[in-house]
């Protein structure tokens, strides 16, 4: 690799909010070669600099923002950045990936990573204007929603082009699943990175960048970019993802019988058709919206023009938001889901955890574990959308029951007691996304072993239920023959999941969007190596690149091992392991504990981990991961 860091800017910005010291260090060649960028280098910085066992909401936690070598380049879908810290929701490794335009702006300002430590005495925001960095008073912004913050900062800084990543009241109030929001609706949502930001009295990071970004081989890079774009545009599912985005999954999940309903008590929802991506497009979408340099533009603006929620406008929602505020809560009122989604973005909440926590509270209400005495009079019966909206506010402002739910379902269950924990659908303390994994064994494994808890995005085998779509790739890459109803099978899932995890570590470290990468498949490993090589001048093979993915994956696992996490923390909750799916076309489907554990054994073996799920010394040596 060239010493000169084409594509990377070659700089880490360090901000200590306690001492107000600001400095920069070079981004080492070794760090780039071994961890690539964005999620990978973030993970390495966190591992190296964080004292194990610290309270995630203490000044000792490190909040790290990172972009990848392809972020902000002409490569398609290259608007991503990652935020990393120890998670207050799980006490494990936390990170969250975000699209929009903030990441490229940071790159143009001249930085690849920002490491924020300490705690400011009063609310501040960081103003990064190329190489001029300031800590500015944010007292007037404290209490504001994320959209108000973004608007006011653009006004104060007198520049419409300023990009803002901010927290809302939820982050200020240390809600354990608070998000960081940019461009009004793009969220670094999961694992509570917004709470870590709030704990540091940091309201926002505003960025404006005007530096050049160079690539090593401009002509070759441009040709690879064109090829990648053509591959995206020629993908047979381009129209699907561009027109509907993820909300079209709603009716598919229903049809397959994998749609979590009423806190996973059921797996089909009578109201699914009313919540569908098709209904959304027909009645509420006003126009498309895309992240930086994305030919897909899978996001949408929406507006509700009549009824109880008339006047609601917003952006999104994703399938996960429809599931979280919809079927998981037994709610088929789509306008109320749109309202909930918008409210969560403005207040700075992770929509998945918020909706799932509310669904869980509704089940406690159904079982009389919570009554109106505990809910401040709120009737938490299934589908009560007014109550859902009220609870979203109460969580963000930590009022009444909201103050308890703000800890996340697992931590809240310990405060509520009375068997409340039995109904928490989580792994490592993070709430499940909207997939009933009893039907999809690969996803069950992927959710379980993700370092950040129940998580669909680290592995994201979207085609597990339609494997013939990538059959050729899977055969070529893994030698796996895919048979009928592949999703029901336990066999070969460890290989499938490990392959997805490794490559998604790469996508998340390059700065690309995984939806158009491995997940929906138009971009393949060959595109990643070509884009990286021509952008940086670093000749790298697919095998070498995948090894970097493995290294990052093992490092995140090591972080958790150091914090005391073991095999026990990779097990799905009671309901998922012990109860069969109770309704719909997948009725009777179970995640058998013995078979799951045997799948876990095989996965650990494949990964070179011990039976307790700890990376072995030999594996670490092979991956050149030096740890004490």
């Amino acid at each position: 690799m060239n010493k000169k860091s084409h594509a990377w800017q070659g700089k880490i910005l360090w901000v200590n909010l306690t001492t107000e010291e600001i400095s920069t260090t070079p981004l080492d060649k070794e760090l780039r070669e071994k961890f690539l960028g964005q999620a990978g280098i973030n993970a390495k910085l966190l591992y190296d600099h964080l004292e194990p066992g610290i309270d995630p909401l203490s000044p000792e936690n490190h909040l790290i923002f990172g972009v990848g070598p392809l972020t902000g380049t002409l490569a398609p879908c290259s608007g991503r950045f990652t935020v990393t810290a120890k998670s207050p929701l799980t006490n494990a490794f936390g990170d969250s990936n975000c699209g929009g335009h903030w990441g490229p702006e940071l790159k143009y300002a001249g930085y690849d990573h920002i490491v924020i430590t300490g705690k400011s005495k009063q609310p501040v925001f960081i103003w990064i204007n190329d190489d001029k960095i300031e800590l500015r008073d944010a007292s007037k912004l404290w209490g504001k929603t994320t959209n108000e913050t973004e608007d006011q900062l653009k006004e104060e800084l007198a520049d419409e082009k300023v990009q803002v990543a901010s927290i809302g009241p939820a982050g200020e109030n240390l809600v354990n699943f608070a998000a960081i929001i940019c461009n009004y609706s793009r969220a670094a949502g999961r694992t509570g990175m917004g709470a870590v930001m709030g704990s540091k009295n940091l309201k926002a990071i505003a960025v404006r960048g005007t530096n050049r970004l160079t690539v090593a081989q401009p002509q070759e890079f441009s040709a690879t970019v064109s090829e990648s774009e053509e591959s995206i545009l020629a993908d047979p599912l381009y129209e699907f993802s561009s027109t509907f985005g993820t909300p079209a999954i709603m009716r598919m999940a229903q049809n397959l019988g994998f749609l979590p309903t009423k806190n996973f008590q059921e797996s089909t929802f009578a109201g699914a058709d009313k919540l569908s991506g098709e209904r959304l497009l027909e009645n509420y979408v006003t126009r498309q919206k895309g992240c930086f340099n994305c030919p897909v533009s899978c996001n949408r603006y929406y507006e509700v023009t009549e009824g109880e929620y008339e006047g609601t406008t917003g952006e999104g929602p994703e399938y996960e938001n429809l599931g979280a505020f919809g079927s998981k809560c037994g709610n088929d009122n789509l306008p109320s889901v749109l309202k909930s989604n918008d409210l969560a973005n403005k207040l700075g909440l992770d929509t998945i955890s918020t909706g799932t926590v509310i669904g869980w509270a509704m089940e406690l209400f159904q079982r009389d574990i919570l009554t109106t005495v505990d809910t401040d009079g709120l009737n938490l019966e299934w589908g009560n959308h007014q109550a859902i909206i009220k609870l979203i506010e109460k969580i963000a402002y930590r009022e009444g029951l909201g103050d308890i739910l703000a800890y996340g379902a697992l931590q809240a269950s310990k405060k509520i007691g009375n068997s409340a924990e039995d109904y928490v659908i989580h792994i490592k303390g993070m709430e499940y996304p909207s997939v009933d994994v009893r039907g999809t064994k690969g996803m069950a494994l992927g959710f379980a072993v993700s370092p950040r808890g129940a998580d669909h995005l680290k592995a994201l085998p979207l085609y597990e239920v339609a494997p013939e779509v990538y059959q050729k790739d899977i055969k070529k890459e893994l030698g796996i023959e895919i048979g009928e109803e592949y999703w029901k099978k336990y066999e070969t899932k460890p290989e499938l999941i490990a392959w997805h995890e490794d490559w998604h570590c790469i996508v998340d470290s390059l700065g690309l969007c995984k939806l158009e990468g491995i997940a929906l498949k138009p971009l393949r490993p060959c595109h990643f190596t070509d884009l990286l090589s021509t952008a940086t001048g670093w000749e790298i093979t697919e095998e070498e690149l995948r090894t970097i993915g493995k290294r990052i994956w093992n490092l995140e696992r090591l972080f958790n091992a150091r914090e005391g996490f073991t095999r026990q923390d990779d097990l799905p909750p009671k309901r998922i392991l012990n109860e069969p799916i109770s309704t719909g076309p997948s009725k009777g489907e179970t995640l058998d504990q013995d078979k799951f554990e045997s799948m876990l054994d095989q996965y650990y073996k494949l990964r070179g981990w011990t039976a307790q799920g700890i990376p072995s010394k030999e594996k670490l040596e092979k991956l050149e991961l030096e740890v004490e």
């Binding site: 047979p236 599912l237 129209e239 699907f240 027109t243 509907f244 993820t246 079209a248 999954i249 009716r251 598919m252 999940a253 049809n255 397959l256 994998f258 058709d273 569908s276 991506g277 098709e278 209904r279 497009l281 027909e282 994703e318 399938y319 996960e320 996304p433 909207s434 997939v435 999809t440 996803m443 669909h456 994201l460 085998p461 979207l462 085609y463 597990e464 239920v465 339609a466 013939e468 779509v469 999703w487 939806l515 997940a519 929906l520 076309p585």
Partner: protein
Amino acid sequence: MTVTVKYFATFCLETNFTQQEELTLEENTTVIELIQLLTDKYGTGFEKRLFTAEKELNPLCWIIVNQQRLKKKNELNLKLNPEDTISFSPPMIMGG
């Protein structure tokens, strides 16, 4: 006889956002005859989604009769029964 027909995602673009409908068909109507009826009703765009230029079944469009995928062209001669559910969909994906 009455059957239920479901349209998913891109197929809804052809049906003007009808997601699902009950259709009354003559006894012994086959799937290919149903496709013809739907093409008459919604236009040739409907049929175009289902077949390649070579008139083969498009592997990226799913035709499902009561949870059973029809993967070969000759399977379209399947006779429908009362209360069958027929779905037209792009490949289903989960999670995201």
